[in-house]
């Protein structure tokens, strides 16, 4: 779908920009980590070990002070604990390995991010193309509807829809465990179905707008008129002529949307609405009550979010700079 020229642009921009290189490598790494989570994670992320709870990360040592009830008397218990290589990111309140949880959390985020964006792109682009290509009443109707959708903040609409339809958890068997390649890891993971549908539903409008604009501008071109005059069907024209011309801006938008949806998913998980307990947002919520004593529980998954979203946004910047020569330098609109 990409022309040779854009491929050249992409390569040139990549050569020139250190940030683009770093972002590409990081994003690919995160993707691989999510894909091969069972091989990389040192432990089963759901296995608890109460006796080894609240261990700090490697290189950190803390004195935990607890007021305990010992034989009916309140007693101050002090304990010196240091992080070990066994749990490089420490453990949470139930003694689960934070590193393994962060690794598995990448799965939820990327799954929702990529599938949600794909759904939003497919539906948004179809609607936008149709609206832009036919114009007139169809266009008016669809775009007014888009305006109405835009009037609801994505997060608010998402939680309202989840409240109505439940979290729609789908249990997906882990392919690696299924194939017997790795043992002692969760056999299934939760794919938050409603959340994925909902993030697509609240984000399709952006795709529709861009696709419509592109379709509008292509509609009047000579080659489209020519195609029509030789009797090509509308759907053929849209697929063969209108769509390919819109690929570039849609690709840029899709990249930024993956980042935006990861943020949205983590917010929903943080609020406990996503139905999965293996997600960065959920772990941050878990760590909230232990901020004063075990700060790493909320910090580690948060860092994971920031690193992945930064790298995906940088990818978006790279794509934009390379594909849209009209814009100079890093900049332009942010997440939606």
């Amino acid at each position: 779908m990409l022309t040779d020229r854009t491929k050249r642009n992409l390569k040139r921009e990549l050569r020139h920009s250190l940030m683009a290189k770093v972002a590409l490598v990081t994003a690919v790494l995160i993707f691989l980590v999510a894909l091969f989570a069972p091989f990389i994670a040192p432990y089963d992320p759901t296995t608890q070990e109460l006796a080894g709870s609240n261990l700090p990360p490697l290189g950190v040592s803390t004195t935990t002070e607890t007021t305990a009830m010992v034989d009916g008397e309140m007693t101050r218990v002090e304990e010196e604990v240091a992080g070990t290589t066994a749990h490089p990111m420490g453990t949470d309140a139930l003694g689960r390995d934070m590193l393994s949880r962060v690794i598995y959390g990448a799965r939820t985020s990327l799954l929702v991010g990529i599938i949600g964006t794909a759904l939003a792109a497919v539906s948004g682009v179809s609607v936008g193309m149709v609206a832009g290509y036919y114009g007139g009443k169809v266009d008016d109707g669809l775009m007014r509807f888009a305006d109405i959708m835009l009037a609801f903040p994505a997060l608010v609409l998402a939680i309202a829809l989840i409240a109505m339809f439940g979290s729609g958890r789908l249990l997906v068997p882990d392919p690696w465990v299924e194939l017997g390649l790795v043992a002692d890891r969760p056999e299934r993971f939760v794919f938050p179905g409603t959340v994925t549908l909902v993030v697509a539903l609240v984000n399709w409008v952006w795709f529709a707008r861009i696709a419509r604009g592109e379709a509008l501008s292509v509609r009047g071109e000579e080659y489209v008129k020519a195609a029509r005059s030789i009797g090509a069907s509308d759907s053929y024209i849209i697929r063969k002529h209108v769509l390919p011309n819109s690929v570039t801006p849609i690709l840029v938008l899709a990249t930024i949307q993956v980042a935006a949806i990861i943020l949205l998913e983590s917010s929903l998980s943080f609020l406990g609405f996503s139905g999965t307990t293996l997600s960065w947002g959920f772990d941050i919520a878990q760590g909230r009550d232990r901020l004063a004593t075990s700060w790493w529980i909320a910090s580690m998954p948060g860092l994971a979010i920031v690193v992945s979203v930064v790298s995906i946004n940088l990818l978006g910047d790279w794509l934009r700079d390379a594909l849209d020569p009209g814009l100079e330098g890093a900049g332009g609109g942010g997440g939606a």
């Binding site: 007014r144 509807f145 305006d147 109405i148 835009l150 009037a151 609801f152 903040p153 994505a154 997060l155 608010v156 609409l157 939680i159 309202a160 989840i162 409240a163 109505m164 339809f165 980042a259 943020l263 983590s266 917010s267 943080f270 609020l271 609405f273 947002g281 941050i284 760590g287 909230r288 901020l291 004063a292 700060w295 909320a298 910090s299 948060g302 979010i305 920031v306 979203v309 930064v310 946004n313 940088l314 814009l327 100079e328 330098g329 890093a330 900049g331 332009g332 609109g333 942010g334 997440g335 939606a336």
Partner: protein, 329 residues
Amino acid sequence: MSLVRFVLRRVLQGLFVIWGVITVVFLLRFVTPGSPVDAVAPLDASPELRARIAQELGLDQPIYVQYFDYLFGLLQGDMGYSYISGTPAAVRVFARLPATIELAVAATLVALVFSIPLGVISATRRHKPADYAATSFSLVGISTPNFWLGIMLILIVSVNLGLLPTSRRPIGLLPALELLVFQLEVSGVRTWLAHMILPALTLGTYFTALIVRLTRSGMLDELGKSYVRATRAKGLPETLVRYKHVLRNTLIPIVTILGLQLGTLIGGAVITEFVFSWPGLGTLVINAITSRDWTIIQGSLIVIGAGFVIVNTAVDVLYATINPQVIYD
């Protein structure tokens, strides 16, 4: 098209979208699994109460009658009665509104105060350390989930340094100001401010980052345009060129984009309120959702949607007044 006609058209469009919002929210009632009564009645409702609710919702009537009843009620400020909390939805929604408005306005102020200077510095000192610092900040800023930022601010500023309170809103702005004016008592305003700083920073960071990015790229665009080069050639001092022409032309499109980002601001406010136990619409919606109180959810959605449209329309009208050429676009 005259300004008056433009304003009129824009307002009508706004009203249309608000009507659409209401219609969508009304229709959602029928999309929920189960009967609409289930969404409104408490779980332990007696059959009598359920029958009464069905009657009040007009479920025995055709849908269009229910719809007009609902619209008519809204016009009178009736958002329905929340049987789960035992209060009219409108009372609860409007009681929470000021807290959310205060937070959103404060966050916007934070964003404007920090972002534009940063964006200008970044664009004019391109590829210098200041530029790198500003672009890195803005990149991280738009990539950080604000609930996590809020938690980290609580951890560092409140828990570790003990500088500011962690949460809640013991007093609203208006009562605080009234104390100040009528009793010359500053404690109210001080309390308000202390509780406002962290939430406003949390919510404002994303927007600061976003506007820095927009300002920087907009300004780079403008600086490259021919009229700037021409003005420079005429020998006007550099700073004057920079601020008077370039900045103005940069800011105009930013205003529109910000209007569209208002939804993100409100969405962000919801979760910021949750993190800071801030008694606004956001915590109301979240609580209503966990207690399955559809009447309140419905009312809040309408107020949030309508608020978004109103501000957006106001921004457009303002924009047209300052810069009449948009009318002819």
